[in-house]
């Protein structure tokens, strides 16, 4: 009975995490005054979308067997590029395009250093984490940069809301749908799973492992850059320390969503729903009056619990499958090898 329930939960993670989201909503509504207001819900959807967009890329990358610690710094770098360009007269849409291209190139750099020079992605992107933000901090001397130009059509598609729902949320849903389909229903997606599961076997079967990984790096950085551009939709200035530590939340979302850090398996939707759960917890804690610092404690604890939980689930899953095989009336996995 328990095995069956666990198997169902694994196969339907989205429902489990959605349930968690609703559960926490109810809890916080009751203990924290003001939590159930529309303004709070709007905020959760907004920052959740922002985190979720970055989580999409990171999920793909981790499934492919790599990791990117520099997403927060790329985020800030992208916001900075956009601001600098627009403040010099470049139309916002074009400035955004430039920022996205920078993100893409950074991803290409990460990918090439990792696969061609065989430097672990952890190290490469750790360098990125330090570098890109440092460039911004250096140029601005730590001072905030303000958005000085006229509003633009593209910018208005990123800012504001439709009813209760921030416009960024729609962008997020669109990207989530696209990349979910890419991961689960395209050749490329199959290669991502293959390369993360066993790179050498995938290669032997004709998959261009290097190209797949580089593509995943580029997707991750570009989406981080997009989040950086979209940041200007709800903030008119950039403080170089903004979004510090967001990579921790992204990775926590990915791991909580059941994606193994070892790669090769996972579900994108689970991870992004987890991103919303995390943001809900953060805001709930804030409204309740718990100091901001403790959110990081919660994330850290959830991260560790999730990693342990993922291991247990994998073990139970393989045992459960074997159990189904050996018991029951129908003969599953019967072969001429077993009978004789």
């Amino acid at each position: 009975m328990v095995k069956k329930k666990i198997l169902w939960a694994i196969g339907h993670g989205e429902i489990v995490f959605l349930f968690l989201f609703l559960l926490f909503y109810v809890i916080f509504s009751n203990i924290a005054t003001g939590f159930s207001s529309s303004g709070i819900l709007h905020l959760i959807l907004l920052v959740g979308a922002e985190l979720g967009i970055i989580t999409i890329g990171m999920s793909l990358l981790i499934i492919s067997g790599e990791i990117d610690l520099s997403v927060a710094s790329v985020f800030v770098f992208s916001t900075f590029i956009t601001l600098t360009a627009t403040n010099r007269g470049v139309p916002f849409a074009l400035a955004a395009l430039i920022a996205l291209s920078c993100g893409c190139l950074i991803g290409l750099l990460n990918g090439c250093l990792t696969v061609k020079l065989r430097i672990p992605s952890f190290i490469v992107t750790l360098g990125g984490l330090l570098l890109w933000r440092a460039i911004v901090a250096g140029i601005t001397s730590g001072e905030p940069t303000f958005y000085e130009r006229e509003p633009s059509l593209f910018l208005s598609s990123l800012s504001g809301q439709v009813g209760l729902v921030p416009k960024l949320f729609f962008w997020f849903v669109g990207l989530a749908v696209i990349f979910s389909i890419v991961l689960t229903r395209t050749k490329f997606g199959n290669w991502v799973f293959a390369v993360g599961g066993d790179k050498e076997t995938a290669r032997a079967l004709g998959v261009r492992a290097d190209r797949v990984k580089i593509a995943c790096f580029m997707i991750t950085s570009t989406l981080a850059a997009f989040a950086g551009v979209a940041y200007l939709g709800h903030s008119s200035y950039l403080d170089p320390v903004v979004a510090t530590g967001i990579e921790l939340e992204v990775i926590a979302s990915v791991v909580m969503g059941g994606i193994l850090l070892s790669g090769g398996t996972g579900n994108l939707i689970n991870a992004i729903v987890c991103a919303f759960v995390l943001k809900e917890i953060q805001i709930g804690m804030g409204v309740y009056g718990i100091p901001v610092v403790y959110y990081k404690v919660v994330i850290g604890a959830l991260l560790v619990i999730s990693v342990i939980g993922n291991r247990q689930i994998i073990q139970r899953m393989t045992k459960a499958m074997a159990g189904i095989r050996n018991s029951g009336k129908t003969t599953e996995v019967v072969s001429s090898f077993d009978e004789d």
């Binding site: 293959a194 599961g197 995938a202 032997a204 079967l205 074997a322 019967v334 001429s336 090898f337």
Partner: protein, 254 residues
């Protein structure tokens, strides 16, 4: 008859490969005919795996010519070799443990359906075909979504071989396919290989254990330290003689 004699399925001439100081292969000539099972033998380090990896496009040879299906070719990646009709089943992992059966079956050769601009995977079709192919070799699965990790070593090996055949391999390379298997599983795999000849598929069977391959092969090519030391027809030889040749090696033979 004459046409077939002139055009072997596979012709290798003067193949040479070095890795730094080590001469892995030196001046190898080797033919594989249509509908033939060739046992490629030699002790560990003889160069057998290097030879087939060159065939599969994993390594580029330093010197030499390869002709496949009558055309001179150079495969620059496993992709190209598979596209030409050469498939390989390794001793170790041929399947990716974290993925399901249908995904494993179609890696690198995924089937797609067009939806306007996009091509998406034709999942129902792939699942059906994977299940059907497995049934043919006697493995019944409830669903192609099951992970391959629930199959035994012998079953996984069979899935890998079936996969190679599904994609119309004309030449199937088996690199020590039975070395890690139990006695029973080995017997099944060998039976399976015997049945392949009738289907117009040639096989290069690599092993360092002559007793596994003696029954199924038509010819034997023996390597030692990168050099081909011997080429024998089954009817001219015996398992004991071949074992002796392998053991004694190049210095004594010739």
């Amino acid at each position: 008859m004459l046409a077939q004699e002139k055009m072997s399925l596979l012709k290798i001439r003067g193949l040479t490969k070095t890795f730094g100081e080590v001469i892995a292969l030196k001046d190898i000539d080797l033919d594989v005919d249509y509908n033939e099972v060739v046992g490629l033998l030699g002790d560990n380090g003889a160069g057998k795996s290097t030879l087939v990896r060159i065939l599969m496009g994993v390594y580029a040879p330093d010197k030499g010519e390869i002709s496949f299906l009558g055309r001179k070719t150079r495969f620059r990646s496993p992709d190209e070799a598979r596209a030409a009709g050469i498939e390989i089943v390794y001793q170790g992992s041929n399947l990716i443990g974290t993925m399901s059966i249908w995904r494993n079956f179609f890696i690198g050769k995924e089937e797609t359906k067009r939806y306007g601009f996009f091509s998406l995977l034709d999942v129902p079709s792939m699942k059906k075909k994977a299940l059907a192919s497995l049934e043919e070799i006697g493995i019944e699965m409830r669903s192609a979504d099951e992970g391959v990790s629930i199959l035994s070593g012998g079953q996984q090996q069979s899935v890998a071989i079936t996969r190679a055949l599904y994609f119309d391999a004309k030449l199937l390379i088996l690199d020590e396919p039975t070395t890690a298997l139990s006695v029973r599983e080995t017997a099944k795999v060998l039976d399976f290989v015997k049945g392949l000849k009738g289907r117009g598929i040639s096989v290069i069977f690599i092993t360092h254990n002559i007793y596994h391959v003696f029954d199924v092969a038509d010819r034997f090519e023996i390597l030692d330290h990168g050099i081909k030391i011997c080429s024998l027809n089954k009817k001219d030889s015996s398992a004991e003689e071949i074992t002796n040749i392998i053991r004694v090696g190049y210095n004594k033979k010739r």
